[in-house]
Amino acid sequence: MLELKRALDAKGHCLLEMPSGTGKTTTLLSLIVAYMKAHPHDLTKLVYCSRTVPEIEKVMEELRKLMNYYEKEMGMEQNILGLALSSRKNLCIHPSVSKEREGKVVDGRCYGLTASFVRARHAADDAVPICQFYEGFDAHGKEFPLSPGVYNLDDLKEYGQMKGWCPYFLARYTITHANIVVYSYHYLLDPKIAEVVSKEISKTSVVVFDEAHNIDNVCIDSMSVKITKRLLDKCSNSIQILETTISNMKENDSKRLEKEYKRLVEGLRDASIARETDMALVNPVLPSEILEEAVPGTIRTAEHFVAFVKRVVEYIKTRLRVQHVVQESPAGFLRDIHTKVCIDRKPLRFTAERLASLIRTLEISDLTDFSPLVTVSHFATLVSTYTKGFTIIIEPFEDRAPTVPNPILYFSCLDSSIAIKPVFNRFETVVITSGTLSPLDMYPKILDFHPVIMTSFTMTLARPCILPMIVSKGNDQVAMSSRYETREDTAVIRNYGNLLVEIAAAVPDGIVCFFTSYLYLETIVSSWYDQGIIDQLQRHKLLFIETQDAAETSLALINYIKACDNGRGAVLLSVARGKVSEGVDFDHHLGRAVLMFGIPYVYTQSRILRARLEYLRDQFQIKENDFLTFDAMRHAAQCLGRCMRGKTDYGIMVLADKRFSRADKRSKLPKWIQEHLKDTNCNLSTEECVQISKRWLRQMAQPFSREDQLGISLLTIEQLQSEEMQKKIQQRAQAV
């Protein structure tokens, strides 16, 4: 809180690592809301970005609690409006559209019912279907803003049903004057969406990125483009559609095309005015240069533009017809496209904007067909805009199947700072927080910003409720490691198996194991079968395995929880970086022990990764190894953090690899784990590990009541106000 307040006062960015389950969300919310109340002019809005829908819901729940508390203490209705925003898929209440499962389809159909020209047509002809909810919103919703309160997704839907207003558009409209907005990262980081949704958020907002340990990857994904052969074929189809619509329109209604043409001649000036007055968030896909200039003459008329896009698509097709891997810079690509098909850089830069304009003019209501073409246009714009920080990799086949031709063009962003830069520049305070952000100093480097505060918090605990251990060898003294050289070694695999079996015999309820990759998981499990380890394991607990299939995994997860709940005990084998390691919590009996088999390095042979490493090395002076270790350790920490979701929880964390005990790896674990990792626990054999955990479990199993925590990790109001405590707090505040 102290640090956060300082960052708010200094109007700077901050980076906070707080262990999960210690009330991170509540702390952030309560302080920022209090700050908002105290300084209503300096701080007008809180934008809280989280990763998934369940997480968004959790935040809303916390906010509701906070508001209820305010109401109880202050005794009156609070004038604060908080709401959650998600995609159309999660908010739609249209009877038929909401039945669709795929997000893109919902978006497309919604657009088909709510676009301005569709509604104009409806006015002329009643047979054209429209969305009555959107109509309701449009007719009345804008005059009556939402009354203050906390609205999560379900509340919004209910409210929408009641009033007959579309909750999605209601939420989007309300964002501009809501005090607290909770939504997903993408609404702020993905330039294509941010342009639409987050454009008008005022400068004096605080932005919080929760669970931000992967924020650099989100940034990179939002700026990268992947083009496959299939996508290009679809593009050709949609180009044909465009051609026919244009010729139709020319015959029937050439006025509209003319109007568009005139507007383009004048240039995209209106957008530029908005930017000058600092109304909107800068969009990295649309650099300001474009706004100042008119659309180049080569692509001004619709037919010319379609021919232009066709040439681009055909050109990319020829590029995909390669026999070996090609890697080149955007500059090289631009030169090649100029010599091969005579396309200059400037018209390329306008592609995305021009395509959007054309689709609007042609009144095409079904946007889903055009998404491949939009992707290509984004690619064209990006490749001609950025000459640095990007690379183009064309792979004729996948590494795993070199015989099957499957050409893919990756336009990959190497610089995570590009996407997030507008956010840092626009908002005064950006808070990046997660349970596992260690090593902290890496984030400012790769995101290219200067935090005023950068702290890792530890927990004050009444008892040592986590037991991290590094197991480096088996009972036979053979070193355990997932190193590439020893991967296939049966001795190592057997030792891993024995470790799991013995732990499973000693630890009650649920155990979660993490492997470095799906491939490794599969090979190990198959050789465990041969060695009879699976049989031994099943004597103690049930066994569940995570697979790449999401449905299968969630089924395994449900059954795992069931097995833990009824006391049978279970083991879940899963993969670091997988679904289980990212979003699922194993609190209390669901995860009494976490085992990390090996260090979860990324697949280092991937060319995209190699390119990124090189870029990081050249631009930010980050050594390859440092980044790889950083990435591996943050995922390891993320996996370990799964079992600790609160102060009353307890769990064993076993790091089964010799390499973890090295100083460079150990020091990169979060502080709250390092604190409990004693030197004596850093080089254990399987037997010693089991001994220690047995003793520790006995200690932990003692009844633990609220009274035990009082005075240490939980303070009553009297204790808090006692002189001794106040002194302590003062001291700590001055020490920082």
Partner: protein, 344 residues
């Protein structure tokens, strides 16, 4: 899904004959290589689809999936050779854009055979009107191209430089680590001091080293970062300035003015008479007087006389120990002479 390329004449597909190559000519209709050979055995003939007369040596390998695109690119290249005005040639951007659109329309018309007579007239008109500009621009690269070229070169240079740098740095680091370890082992083996203290001091030393290194890296890094200030690569405000700028004016450094110091000759012998006193001492009696032509070139007999005397007296006191010294002195003379020449 993937419809294989088919020759419209003989219906061979790429699937059945992987060696098949499709060719296109000016009309934009494809034919496979063997059909081309068969139909155009005489060197010219009509296109089997549109019946337009074609020459055999105008057939090229089809580059794109859609032969129409091949045709368009072909026409475009031809047209752009003529229509190569640059933005610099127009007073406003608007006019340039209008020009671009006109070019595009011409190409479009040619590709789809719309109004061919008028279009050709337009092209001819243009050719006549803008002959000199076209010629001039042909040899000039556009600004954008130059920018790209520059970027590519920079990239290449940077890459090789960086690669070398990092390889060396890594080697160096490895060496240092190895050395430190050996030193520790040596110390542990031969020193009498407490083993613990040796290890502790070693750890301190390595920690200090490690601290220093990032500093050095940061220093070298800051220089790099400055040169590439915009990581996004957008060169805002810089465009047009650095591409057609002049060479930087050579900077003159302020050095103290040159002052002539008469050389001190060390003849290693008795001092010879100076050039002014030669006449008085009557040396000229013994040599041939300079004739008129020689005087005209600035020669006087005093010069050769003085030189002869210097030669005669120089080195009379020579002794073998001082060889080195004299040699040095003579070289100094020669350099000073050249200096004099430059200043005068």
């Amino acid at each position: 899904m993937d419809d294989y390329q088919t020759c419209p004449k003989c219906k061979t597909t790429k699937y059945r004959n992987p060696a098949m190559v499709l060719m296109v000519n000016a009309c934009g209709h494809a034919l496979c290589e063997s059909c081309v050979e068969l139909l155009f055995a005489k060197g010219s003939g009509a296109c089997p689809e549109c019946k337009c007369p074609l020459r055999r040596n105008n057939f090229r390998v089809q580059l794109f999936e859609d032969p129409a695109v091949d045709k368009e690119v072909d026409i475009r290249k031809r047209i752009l050779k003529e229509f190569n005005k640059r933005q610099e040639d127009f007073p406003t951007l608007r006019e340039y854009n209008d020009y671009l659109e006109e070019v595009e329309t011409i190409i479009f018309n040619l590709v789809f055979d719309i109004d061919p007579t008028n279009t050709n007239k337009m092209i001819d008109n243009y050719k006549k009107e803008n002959k000199d500009i076209t010629q001039k621009n042909r040899n000039r690269q556009s600004q954008e191209e130059m920018e790209l070229e520059e970027l590519l070169e920079n990239e290449k240079a940077q890459q090789s430089e960086k690669a070398n740098l990092y390889v060396n740095a890594e080697l160096e680091e490895k060496k240092q680590k190895h050395k430190a370890r050996e030193k520790l082992i040596d110390e542990l083996m031969f020193s009498d001091a407490d083993a613990k203290s040796i290890v502790a001091s070693h750890v301190q030393a390595t920690a200090a080293l490690a601290k220093e290194q990032p500093k050095a890296a940061a220093q070298s890094g800051s220089a790099v970062v400055k040169s590439s200030k915009f990581s996004s690569g957008i060169q805002i405000g810089l465009r047009g300035q650095h591409t057609n700028s002049f060479l930087p004016i050579p900077k003159q450094e302020d050095l103290p003015l040159y002052r002539y110091i008469a050389p001190i000759f060390d003849y290693d012998g008795p001092p010879p008479p100076t050039i002014e006193t030669l006449g008085k001492l009557n040396y000229f009696a013994n040599i041939r007087a300079a004739n008129v032509t020689e005087r005209a070139g600035g020669y006087t007999e005093a010069m050769s006389c003085c030189r002869a005397l210097q030669e005669a007296m120089g080195g009379l006191f020579y002794s073998p120990q001082s060889t080195h010294k004299t040699a040095v002195v003579t070289t100094i003379h020669s350099t000073q002479d050249t200096d004099d020449m430059e200043t005068t």
